[in-house]
Symmetry: C2
């Protein structure tokens, strides 16, 4: 069965949009698109950014209305989306991601001559990207996954998120204009939305099963991510799935930080991070580890006051609000859990933020997407390590620290390194910088593939694989590995960078 989709931008058949049409167009476009030079591909990515910027006011209006997120936040997301595309334009022009390695022939080596060996990275092929609900721009249609896949040389088929169809379609039209402006084949980018009454899940499954696709980028729920991982593994040719799924982002407050710091300011910053954007961030601080004793008690009390004063904000979708309400209610009903405070409801689909304190971590470490915090207490460094070692893989871990905590922090760091993709000190995990040193990833189930990041320039490596050319005649060598180095790449000669 081939599903039809509500809309397709670009691709082969706008009258009868379908996974089939989009994937077939992507496969057809691949050879041409991957053959673009660094300059061409870089210019195309910059143009995508320009086209999105040109639609800024329409985009902001649509995204605010569809997501319920504040205008300032959405405006910032436009900048992040275009900034991300421009960063990858620079990365592509530099060309280091091609990882060129040359081991020249040694015809006189004994006992055997060495052949001429040249290596470069090539793009995997067409990539499916699933738009995320919580970042209608920066992690959706032309968000991080799309930008890094296009940068690697992979055509992209986006499954738009049903929570922001209009925003998705506007962005898709902007990308499509850039494709046309650079005379690229239309199949370089397609955008599919489930039609009315059609299940988005079914559409997504069909997409992942399409034999022409070579990788999947996804940001969303653990259930959704695991379903895609299973579908991809079940193909006759399995493909990698980069699913960013579930994290409660432990925050550790060390005793010195509590003794030295302003407990009220710290607690209020915690609640600020917890309730930012209705708590709808992958990096939301869902778990706080606090020392036992008076300072910790004071922090809990202060956090309770701050939460009690907070009001729920409209969540992205009714389904997300309902899941939050179920999750927070289950937490409250759990034995050993005490409600520290709840805020006020902000109306329909805007449930109250909540902080609870749990005696143990048993049963309270599943992510509740939204402004729901769990506090757990520790007696000493050893019991803290026990807490942390019991956790699943996470995107981030945060440590609040003063110089007096140096020994505890030294013990903690290797433990945290085994659990997370990013370790941050004296800050809050919400807010992910887009740059070269960022890691937005981490061990399972934070992601389905902890060897990579979905934010930052390293993300381009997810959509590549190495190929070696042995004794290939000069007239046939790809530009990246030619002797005269026409792209001016930094290359590795006999293992050392030139």
């Amino acid at each position: 069965m081939t599903l039809t989709a509500h809309s397709i931008i670009a691709g082969a058949n706008a009258e009868a949009p379908s996974v089939e049409a989009a994937c077939s167009a992507a496969a057809e476009a691949f050879a041409t698109y991957r053959a673009t030079s660094p300059e061409q591909r870089s210019a195309f990515l910059n143009q995508v950014a320009d086209e999105i910027e040109a639609d800024r006011s329409a985009l902001v209006e649509a995204a605010v209305s569809e997501s319920g997120l504040p205008e300032a936040r959405i405006a910032g997301e436009v900048g992040r989306t275009t900034g991300q595309l421009r960063m990858f334009a620079d990365v592509v022009r530099l060309g280091d991601h091609l990882g060129v390695r040359l081991d020249p022939a040694l015809p006189d080596r004994t006992p055997l001559p060495r052949p001429d060996l040249r290596q470069r990275m090539i793009p995997l092929g067409p990539v499916a990207v699933f738009g995320a609900s919580n970042f209608p721009l920066a992690f959706s249609t032309a968000g991080g996954d799309t930008a890094s896949a296009l940068a690697a040389g992979c055509p992209v088929v986006v499954k738009g998120h049903p929570a922001h169809p209009r925003t998705g379609e506007l962005v898709a039209r902007a990308v499509t204009r850039a494709v046309a402006a650079h005379d690229l084949p239309a199949g370089v980018f397609s955008f599919l939305l489930a039609s009315d009454g059609q299940s988005g899940i079914e559409l997504g499954q069909e997409l992942v099963r399409d034999p022409r696709l070579r990788a999947v980028g996804f940001t969303g729920s653990r259930g959704g991510g695991l379903a895609l991982v299973a579908a991809a593994a079940d193909r006759s040719e399995p493909i990698p799935v980069y699913a960013e799924m579930s994290s409660i982002n432990p925050v550790v407050v060390l005793p010195g930080a509590l003794a030295d710091g302003d407990v009220h300011a710290l607690a209020s910053a915690y609640v600020g991070s917890l309730s930012l954007g209705a708590g709808q961030f992958c990096t939301n601080p869902g778990l706080l580890c606090l020392p036992e004793g008076a300072n910790g008690d004071a922090f809990v009390a202060a956090a309770g006051e701050a939460v009690a004063e907070a009001t729920g904000q409209r969540m992205l979708t009714r389904g997300i609000a309902e899941a939050y309400t179920r999750g927070t209610s289950a937490l409250r009903d759990r034995a050993g859990v005490r409600v520290v405070a709840q805020g006020a409801s902000g109306g329909e689909d805007a449930p109250a933020p909540q902080v609870v304190e749990a005696k143990t971590l048993g049963g309270v470490t599943d992510e509740v997407f939204g402004a729901s915090g769990v506090v757990v207490r520790y007696s000493d460094a050893e019991s803290l390590v026990t807490h942390l070692e019991g956790l699943e893989g996470q995107l981030t871990a945060t440590v609040h620290y003063a110089p007096a905590d140096v020994e505890a922090a030294r013990t903690l760091l290797p433990v945290l390194e085994q659990k997370v993709g990013r370790i941050l000190f004296n800050g809050w995990p919400t807010g992910v910088e887009v740059g070269h040193a960022m890691v937005h990833g981490g061990p399972f189930p934070a992601t389905s593939d902890g060897r990579s990041t979905s934010v930052g320039s390293l993300a381009i490596e997810r959509f590549q694989r190495p190929v070696c050319y042995q004794d290939v005649p000069a007239e046939l060598l790809p530009d990246a590995v030619r002797d005269d180095n026409p792209w001016g790449l930094r290359r590795r000669l006999d293992g050392e960078l030139e």
Copy 2:
């Protein structure tokens, strides 16, 4: 149920060896081992090479007797094994694999300051390595997978191959001496063998299911590899499996190469590569694509003569010889298949080499491990591309080429790039150079993860993942990302190499 193993070298409990003991020792050793400096780890790897070299004569004797492979080949494998370890010692000392990236703080940036961000690669954790039957040294106990995992900072638990238990144990003792000489925890390296009457498969499954292991390296059959992939995916925390499994390594002879070249010499070189080491190479040229017409006919006739003169060599195990006999017999019985020639049997477990010609590729593209070749003919460049596009992923593709073939080769190259990990011209795929530009990998089912290589220095990246440090105080930063760069690493500053 915890299985006991026949023997364990190092690890926690030599009296009651088991997966449990080995994995628990590996997990315990991990923190110490991964904290070694580049100099320390590099010296340890060199010592492993020295210890293996010190046992050279005993090793050669054991491996020749257990594998039936000629002494010259095994002696070469000792050199390859130690050379591989020394290459990784150099890679570790250089430190580029740590991929350090620094995005310094921008406290005055508007609208938001940028935090201080630092990234490095860390080792995944303990790794299970499955010894391969066909390379008792270079792909077994201290072979490529072990060397690259140890280089990355991962303790290794080897499941020795039952076809060469004595060789494996000798190598394991050499590694263990190096571990002791460098005062490393014993769990850095363990070696397990299934005990008499115990199924090696069961032992391997238990190993892959152990929650302390973080990755798997395997070289062997498609069935064996897929079973490990399934077991790893089925864990509550799935882990990556690098299985190198199945490849028929298509060789394309272009018309010009046939017109220009010495057809007899070419055919005889083909049969030489096909029957080298009883054909027991992952890169064995199992499929040859030859033009229709008189020159192609002459090649087939010459290849037939060469095969008819060849004698079977003893295969690695009785099971492998039996599978070869079944596979070649099934090929002969297939409709549309004509036997070009068979050689002579070389006695028990030394079945005859064989070349057949097939009308189409239907049903003849499954790997038959051993000296079994299939020839298929093509009428023009288009039919050749159709042949190749119908193939599954492969480790290698070989092109025999003369300048007159340039147009056909240009058409072919992008097709081959999508199918294989290594493309070679005017040579034969057997013989894999260990170096920096090598790729011994390729799309499924050549490997279970085509984004990597199991031979060459890039293999170290399979056992690492990135971690980001945000605003971590100077006194807590790992050496690799400290401002004063004590290891003298080449680092990326704001995206550009320093």
